[in-house]
Each structure stands twice: as C-alpha cells, then as structure tokens.
C-alpha cells in the first residue's frame, strides 16, 4: 500500500516537472494562434487564427532570414565537421610534440569568451570586405566549432580500435586511404549526432549574427527582434515567428532523439 502511494506521488511530481519544462513552449504556441485583438488576453477568448504566420512571413526580411539561417547552418555544419574530423583523428591516433601542442592550443582557445574575439572580428571582417556576407559569418562559425568539436571527434575515434587501420597500412593502403575507408565509416554514428546538433546550434546562434551581419544578410534570430517598436511589441507575430523557428528543433526531438542523446555524452 505504501509503495502504491509512493508511485502515485512519483508520477505526479514527474508530470509537474514535465509541464513546467514544456509550459513556455506551449504558451508561445497558444499566443501564436491568437489574433492581434486577443493577444493581450491569451488566457481568455476562443478566437484562433493562422493569420499571424502569414503576416509574420510577409514582413520584408523574414523569408530571406529563414533562407539565410538555413543556408549558414547547413554550410557551417558541413565545413565544421569537415575540418574537425581530420583534426580529431590526428589527436586520437598520434602522440608526440605536435599532437600535444595542437591539443593545448585548442584547449586554450576554448576558454576565451566569445565576446573577446567577436568584437575585433567585426573590424577584421570589414577590413577584408567580408562583413555582412555568407563568408563573413560562416568562417567565424567554423572557427568557434573547431576547439570543442576536435575534442569530441577525438573521443569518437578513441572508441574505434586502430588495429584495422594498422592492418590496412601493412597491406599497402595509404594513410589517407586507411583514414577514409576504415576509420571514417566507423565514426559515422557519432558524427551524425554531432551534425544534427551543429545544425541546430548554428540555426539558434545569436551573438555572431547580431555583430557580424547587417541588412544585407538578415539572420533569423536577429530578425525576430524586429517586432519591437515604439508602440510596443507585437507579441502574436513574434510568437508566430518563434514557433516557426523551433520547427527544426521539434522535428529533431521527435525523430532523431536517439542520435541526439548519444551525441550529448561528454
């Protein structure tokens, strides 16, 4: 009898925690389908409409912001993984001075706060003429991923037995051949998980987008703030945009959960 009560209590408290975690997202969803006239009394009234989504998308830079954010996230994922797969492989398979120096370097850079190099990066990208372009946003994104991802990739390759590669080398395979044909395929599950997370992180990123882009390359996270003006904030439009912005995350949560959970392991 006592354990029965315990189970009920356990179930109730877990439900409460889940509701607490989900509430802000649910509330935003509800605000997004309320017409402008009812937005200040979301909790009352029964009018619902999808007009907010249409209106939010009709604002000038919105569609472009979605396209830009998607493009930058995709490109950043491809290139960040491209350069860190090899870097992590090198950290995992080789020891010695070169390897230790590289590891020390990326560990050091990992601790530097973003703001310390994003501020001057504003001037650097302007001086090189890539401010407010894809390249000017993409390359810093790759740079910020290098440290952490090299570390994670090293972990992926550490989990793979190097004996197979050695055997391939002895059989006359080149080092690149052994890497591409044997180590890389074995690391694909880990890399896939990281790819999904990288895409989402870049899609969600704010500080770089705020400082390194202007009107030519609007980014979603920054463009969302445009619903703030003198008369106040158009909460219904802002919520509608935010709902559209979390769709990729929602899809991932529903369909690629196992991958993501695996990728989050430290």
């Amino acid at each position: 009898m006592k354990s029965e009560w315990k189970r009920v209590f356990f179930g109730l408290s877990l439900t409460a925690v889940c509701l607490l975690l989900a509430f802000p997202v649910l509330w935003m969803g509800l605000t997004a389908v309320r017409p402008a006239s009812g937005v200040f009394y979301v909790h009352r009234g029964t009018e619902f409409s999808l007009g907010n989504f249409v209106e939010a998308l009709s604002k000038p830079p919105m569609v472009r912001a979605f396209i830009n954010s998607g493009a930058i996230a995709t490109l950043a994922t491809v290139f960040s993984l491209g350069v860190t797969i090899t870097s992590g492989y090198m950290l995992s398979r080789f020891s010695g001075k070169l390897s230790n120096t590289w590891f020390g370097l990326i560990y050091l850079f990992r601790t530097v706060p973003y703001i310390s190099w994003v501020l001057p990066l504003y001037l650097v990208t302007q001086a090189w003429g890539i401010f407010d372009t894809y390249a000017g946003l993409l390359l810093p994104h790759i740079a910020v991923h290098i440290c952490f991802f090299s570390w994670l990739m090293k972990g992926f390759f550490d989990g793979i037995d190097p004996d197979m590669e050695l055997a391939a080398l002895i059989d006359g395979c080149s080092r690149w051949g052994a890497f591409c044909r044997i180590a890389l395929p074995a690391a694909i599950p880990g890399i896939t998980a990281l790819a999904i997370l990288t895409w989402l992180w870049t899609w969600n990123e704010f500080l770089f987008a705020l400082i390194l882009t202007g009107s030519r390359t609007p980014m979603l996270t920054v463009a969302m703030a445009q619903f703030v003006h003198e008369l106040g904030i158009e909460w219904n439009l802002m919520s509608a945009t935010a709902v559209m912005a979390i769709v990729p995350g929602l899809i991932v949560t529903l369909f690629a959960q196992e991958y993501v959970v695996k990728g989050l392991r430290v």
Binding site: V25, F40, T111, I115, P120, V124, A143, M238
Partner: protein, 300 residues
C-alpha cells in the same frame, strides 16, 4: 600541404599529421587568434569606433574599466551571481530529474521528448517567451498572481526580480542537458555497490549520498567546468530579456563589453573589458578544475 612539401626532410608521418590539422589550424589562426590579438592591441590604444586615433595609451583603458562603478559594482557581481546560481540550480534540477528518470520504466520516450524540448529551443526564442510571460501588464504570470489575489509584480523593472527571471530562464534551458548527461552517468554505474548497501540495510538517501553521488563525481565535474565557463560569458538571454536594464543593473560581463564597443562606441574600453573578463574566466576555470579534480581524488 604546400608548406609541408617544401620540407622534404620531414618524414611522411609528420606530413600526414600536419595535413590533417592544417585547415582547422588556418581558420583558427585567422578567425580566432588574429582577432584576439587585435582586440588586445586595441585595448592599449585610444580607439573609438567613430574616431580611431590608435594612439598608445598604456593601461589607461584597463584603469577606466576597473574603476568604473558599473563594472565592479554591478557587472562583476551580476556575472558571478549568474554563474553560481545558474550552474548550481541547473545541476540540482538536472540531478533530481536524472535520478527520477533512472527509476522510470514506462513513458520514458515521451518524458525524454518533453525534456529535450528546452534544449532544442534557441536561447533567443526562450528569452522572448519568458519576456512575454513575465510582461508586467499582460503576462500570464501576473495574470495568475492577480487571480490568486496577490499584487502584480513588475518583474523586469527591478534589479533582483529581473535577475531572478534571467537566471530562471537559464536554468530552464540547461536542466535537460544536465539531466541527460547525468542520466547517462547513472546508467553506466555498476549496480553491485548499491545492492550490497541495500543488503546491509542502508536507506535510499544513504545509498544516494554515499554511493551514487561519489561514483557520479567525475561526470559532475566535467558538467560543472563546462557550464561555468559558458555561463560566465552569457549574452543572448540577458540581452533579449532585460537588455541589461533597468539602468544597467542586470548587465553581465559580455553585455558590458558589447555596450561599450557598439552602443557607446568605445571600442578600446570594450576590448579592455573583454580581456579582463577572459583573464578572470581563465583563472576561475583553472581554480575550478583544480578544486574539483581534488574532490574527485578524495572520493576515490
């Protein structure tokens, strides 16, 4: 590749190693090391964005930042308060959730989907939602407070309630991360010590306190170090929820540097502040790492 070919003396192994890290190395130097050096350089010069004289002024910028009452009176205390409470709160909540999930059998997938939700939401989106919920006139939180017969609270118009909202948002965002990592840690623990303690008649709390927690310490340590470094440089949620206000009273270190550089256009002061912050977090990160690894050793 070009550089490495020139040195024919290099053995094939070194050439391979260099070619593996070369792309990453070049990007790291050009887009991280170079800006950091440039920022360090600017912090010693008179460098306003509207009037970059670039004359050398020594440590004058550092002196101005360190003697700015906003910096030492508000920004630093806020940043450390945020770091401690957000990491501590997230850790506690995440650990509780992980322990609960560890005993679950049914509905695990559903619960995990809900838990992953905050992790998938952009911090900016989360901040917008929270700002709407805590809106002083129409936010649902005040509506509920009024319905229950309390006075509505102007959450974001005061320093401490504003900080509370910001910290709460960060805890909400990061609890799932803690929970999932700690859950993985719990699942990988061997069951024998717990079973032995249970046979010896230890109660649930004693088992948790004396067996589960010490075994979890290495994972806890990594979580704390990573999150503390990240929490120190928080920008997006503070910027979106309070913009550092009211009257700069909820500013954190990243916001201070940003405001100096891009709002007041004092690029030199912004750079100096960001270097000061970088030094602080390196020292704090180092100490944290030492202290925590000593704790882990003691527990072994």
């Amino acid at each position: 590749m070009v550089i490495s070919r020139r040195r024919l003396r290099w053995r094939e192994r070194e050439r391979f190693m260099v070619s593996l890290i070369l792309p990453a190395f070049v990007i790291l130097i050009l887009f991280q090391a170079l800006p950091i050096l440039m920022g360090a350089n600017a912090s010693f010069r008179s460098w306003a964005l509207y009037n970059p004289q670039k004359t050398f002024v020594g440590l004058a910028n550092y002196k101005r930042v360190l003697t700015d009452p906003v910096f030492y009176g508000l920004v630093l205390p806020n940043t450390f308060l945020f770091m401690l409470t957000s990491v501590g709160g997230g850790l506690l909540a995440g650990l509780t959730l992980a322990v609960m999930l560890n005993r679950m059998f049914r509905f695990e997938r559903l619960v995990r989907t809900v838990i992953l939700l905050p992790l998938m939401v952009a911090p900016v989106v989360a901040a917008i939602m929270i700002r709407w919920m805590f809106n002083d006139q129409f936010g649902i939180v005040n509506v509920v407070l009024e319905a229950l017969g309390f006075e509505p609270i102007p959450w974001l118009a005061k320093r401490w309630t504003g900080m509370l909202v910001v910290i709460g948002t960060d805890i909400w965002l990061w609890t799932p991360w803690f929970a999932l990592i700690l859950l993985a840690g719990l699942r990988s623990q061997p069951p024998e010590p717990r079973e032995a303690a249970m046979i010896d008649g230890a109660n649930a709390w004693q088992i948790f306190r004396n067996i589960t927690l010490p075994l979890l310490r290495p994972v806890l340590m990594v979580c704390i170090v990573i999150r503390s470094i990240d929490a120190f440089r928080v920008f997006d949620i503070v910027w979106t929820i309070t913009t550092g206000g009211p009257a700069r009273s909820t500013e954190t270190f990243s916001l201070y540097a940003y405001q100096q550089a891009f709002v007041f256009l004092n690029f030199d002061l912004g750079s100096a502040a960001s270097i000061v912050g970088a030094l602080i977090i390196m020292v704090v990160g180092g100490i944290l790492y030492r202290v925590l690894s000593r704790l882990v050793e003691v527990s072994r």
